[in-house]
């Protein structure tokens, strides 16, 4: 990549920026710098030995003679039905061979050009990988010397069996010319029903490999944060501009990091930018049409805002995929402006690995084009240390503490607010923050509500104030009283300030209220006076909900983007209750909010509209 530093009026680069002659680094981003080569691909041909003999240690060496070994194409193994080459486990199914050996050679022309190497391994149950005789990966194997008879640390099962685990390999181990990968796959149990092996081995001559992201945070009218992860420490650099082949601006840091975070500033409102990530000398991802974002519109904009809402989505399985696919098909080319996650974003404990599967490998396309705004759920909280705001949830997300995105700074990432166009979004923490009315969160909430001029106020958190799904809001003991607390304490404050829409998850269902005001007790205390409009809220049905004054809000439970959970689904405040997976799609334009529940099959099962009467 050629980089030149010149003096150029900034106004020539980004319309709307102030004039002047600051020093701007101009990057001429040639596509070829995004250079990745596969040294060994998934499904490659390998030599292998599956006769149950102990090969000692000589077989790992590059010069070992493997000409008598069999040859076959990955995936290797037995017992799962997805193998291309079946391997032999011996004559006794109750006493299977513990170790099976694999070797493959490949060529490297100029190892000095390689800046990063990445080996992605599928091994059931455990494996050791050697590159030119040096151990480079130890996967699910005990520490210390490994013998022919050493069992893997434990038998793996479920989705772990098919999870390909990513490993950084030191490129200095590569040799010019012939190189050899040698792999020994070990059973975790001699009675194990299956064995699997495959891998791919990639090198980059541009920038370190990206293993997470890029993903976007805290979009405003003039700024956005771009984050990504590499396994190898490198500088953090985002190249951006008005077109994928015109990334004339860059920002970043020279400090070496694996979790990269770059703030882009001085952007123009409601403008699409393209970007790439990497270093000053190489691109790791982007510089194509799929890496772009749009800045938030200015207050007063009349453009309709598309909001995608998913709750309890963190199952990392076909269910969450289907929900996402349904929205992809529904949205088509229409951009998602705001993306809300209602908690339980990564089951079962919100670990970093679970976030990798449930978020980063489930929604990569959304993550690189739309900033995500999450709230914490009870499952995310298992691995998060809320008092110190550490752990995966807090490490992964960069959330506003100081009012960077509009609203009043809360001083914490646990609860925050942001403005997007004419909408003020408020995220509360119903899981791990004091819910007392005179506590810090609800004190902040009152001040934040009293400071917004937005046309609409949308609040979201995890625990639903009204639900008869997999959680019961009438049960004061449900979830430690969190449902009750939020209903009794947060709702009066929100309604007093004229909140329009409240979104929650936790119950694995879709439940949507009629137009409510003042219902803070259990479901048996609901009175007609609290129902401002008991219709279905559909313009083509009973009519839209008309918000003529400040009173009236719709409450939606949408904790169903990954699973369903049943329940009686008969809360009397609900207009509709469904035991179905899906997501909520909102379109918020001048004077109106249109909501649609989109199920996993792509069918819109509910619609509602709130019209502002002024």
């Amino acid at each position: 990549m050629r980089i030149t530093t010149v003096l150029i009026p900034l106004v020539f680069l980004v319309a709307g920026c102030s004039s002047g002659t600051p020093v701007v680094t101009i990057v001429v981003p040639p596509g070829p710098d995004l250079t990745v080569s596969a040294l060994v691909r998934v499904g490659a041909t390998w030599k292998f030995l599956d006769d149950g003999t102990d090969q000692g240690t000589a077989w790992r060496e590059p010069d070992f003679d493997d000409t008598t070994w069999a040859s076959g194409q990955a995936e290797f193994g037995y017992g799962d039905g997805d193998e291309t080459t079946l391997t032999n486990f011996g004559p006794d199914p109750a006493n299977k061979f513990v170790t099976t050996y694999f070797r493959r050679e490949f060529q490297v022309d100029d190892p000095a050009q390689v800046v990063d190497a990445l080996l992605t391994l599928l091994a059931d149950d455990g494996a050791l990988v050697y590159l030119n005789g040096i151990e480079v990966v130890r996967d699910n194997m005990p520490v210390g010397a490994i013998a022919f008879s050493t069992l893997a640390t434990g038998a793996i099962s479920g989705t772990t069996e098919t999870t390909r685990r990513v490993n950084a390999i030191d490129p200095v181990l590569l040799r010019q010319g012939r190189n050899v990968l040698a792999v020994e796959v070990h059973q975790g149990d001699i009675t194990s029903s299956d064995l699997s092996f495959d891998l791919d081995f990639l090198i980059s001559t541009g920038a370190p490999f990206v293993v997470r992201g890029p993903y976007l945070q805290q979009v405003t009218r003039t700024s956005i944060i771009v984050r990504w992860r590499t396994l190898r420490p490198s500088e953090s650099r985002v190249h951006y501009g008005a077109a994928a082949d015109a990334l004339f601006l860059n920002a970043g840091s020279d400090a070496l990091a694996t979790d990269h975070e770059v703030l882009l500033t001085d952007l123009t409102a409601d403008t699409v930018y393209y970007y790439a990530i990497g270093t000053s000398t190489g691109l790791a991802a982007g510089a194509d049409d799929s890496h772009n974002f749009r800045t938030a519109p200015a207050a007063g904009s009349t453009r309709s805002i598309r909001v995608w809402v998913i709750g309890d989505s963190g199952t990392a399985n076909i269910n969450s995929q289907r929900v996402a696919d349904a929205y992809r098909a529904f949205a088509g080319n229409e951009r998602t402006d705001v993306w809300l996650m209602l908690g339980d974003n990564a089951y079962g404990s919100g670990t970093d690995a679970q976030y990798q599967a449930a978020v980063f490998e489930t929604y990569p396309d959304f993550l690189r084009t739309t900033a995500v705004w999450p709230t914490i759920g009870n499952h995310d909280a298992v691995s998060a240390d809320s008092p110190t705001e550490s752990g995966p949830y807090y490490d992964i997300f960069t959330l506003p503490r100081h009012g960077e995105t509009g609203g009043i700074g809360s001083g914490t990432e646990a609860y925050y607010s942001f403005d997007y166009g004419n909408i003020h979004f408020i995220c509360l923490d119903s899981q791990d923050t004091d819910r007392a009315v005179d506590g810090a969160m609800l004190t902040w909430l009152q001040a934040d509500l009293a400071d917004t001029m937005a046309e609409f106020v949308v609040a979201f958190w995890h625990h639903p104030p009204y639900s008869k799904g997999s959680h019961d809001s009438d049960d004061a003991g449900d979830s430690g009283g969190r449902l009750r607390d939020m209903r009794e304490r947060a709702l009066p404050l929100l309604e007093a300030a004229g909140v329009d829409l409240v979104l929650t998850g936790h119950s694995h269902s879709y439940e949507r209220t009629v137009f409510l005001n003042g219902h803070y007790g259990t479901s048996d205390t609901l009175t007609p006076a609290m129902i401002l409009d008991g219709g279905n809220g559909r313009e083509a049905g009973d009519g839209a909900y008309a918000k003529n004054g400040a009173a009236g809000a719709v409450y939606v439970v949408a904790g169903n983007a990954g699973q369903t959970g049943g329940g009686s689904l008969d809360h009397p405040a609900m207009s509709i209750s469904l035991n179905a997976r899906g997501s909520l799609v909102l379109d918020i334009g001048p004077g109106r909010i249109d909501g649609r529940f989109l199920d996993e099959g792509g069918v819109v099962q509910d619609t509602f509209t709130i019209l502002r009467g002024e």
Partner: protein, 248 residues
């Protein structure tokens, strides 16, 4: 689902302290305090050296409202990890709940010194402990430390303001209000409060001006905000303040 899995493993290894710890933590997350504490107590009995158990057990006891036992458990943990910030914070919260306010306030100070990130709520808790201990001036100083450290800390600013008023430190209260006003996009709430402070300080003319400005600000709001219950209530307060400032 996870609890069932750990229970299945425990059936095979009933003396595995780590499994009891794991299940106890899962029960805790589901709010099943008794089951959680039973597992954690068992884990401690099986492996007294597994010091993490003391920490999780203390946390669980605190969530269950059993602060005296929680304090004992966290003190065991702190013997081994005397500088553990989160444990020090847990100890402060237990002392606070046990109404040992002065000790709690000091414990908060020790914890804050060890923590990289402190939520506004903990500074608020420390200030409340100091007030309960009869040390309101110290509480204001503690809040100011929090404000200096956190930057955005509106609840701390509001509580400091109220404490200044309780101590009849009107000038200090007005200075704090001016800072809030300067940052606010919507001024009416703070103008009304400022009017109230000025009235209390015996400055009705100034108060009248602020109440009038507040009412004008409310009138200028779009109807959706002006008609919100919280604004109607504020209007009533401003109008009452205006009358009082006129001596009515």
């Amino acid at each position: 689902m996870q609890i069932a899995e750990v229970t299945r493993r425990l059936a095979k290894a009933p003396r595995d302290a780590r499994l009891h710890l794991r299940r106890g933590e899962l029960y805790r997350r589901h709010g099943e305090w008794d089951r959680a504490i039973r597992d954690l107590t068992r884990a401690h009995a099986l492996s007294p050296d597994l010091i993490t158990v003391s920490f999780v057990r203390a946390h669980t006891l605190r969530e269950a409202g059993r602060h005296r036992e929680a304090l004992t458990a966290i003190d065991v943990y702190l013997v081994r990890h005397p500088d553990h910030g989160t444990a020090l914070l847990e100890r402060a919260r237990d002392l606070h709940a046990l109404r040992r306010h002065a000790e709690a306030a000091d414990a908060y100070t020790r914890a804050f010194a060890r923590l990289a990130t402190i939520r506004p709520g903990f500074y608020l808790a420390q200030a409340r402990a100091l007030v309960a201990a009869g040390r309101s001036a110290d509480a204001v100083r503690a809040l100011d430390k929090g404000i200096a450290r956190l930057g955005s800390a509106l609840p701390l600013r509001v509580y400091a303001l109220e404490l200044e008023l309780e101590q009849k430190r009107y000038a200090a209260a007005l200075a704090r209000l001016d800072r809030l006003l300067a940052k606010a996009r919507r001024k009416e709430k703070w103008l009304v409060r400022r009017g109230e402070v000025l009235l209390a300080a015996g400055r009705p003319q100034k108060a009248r001006a602020d109440f009038a400005r507040a009412l004008a600000a409310i009138d200028a709001l779009p109807a959706r905000h002006r008609n919100a219950p919280v604004m109607k209530k504020l209007r009533t307060t401003a109008e009452q303040g205006l009358r009082k400032s006129r001596g009515n």
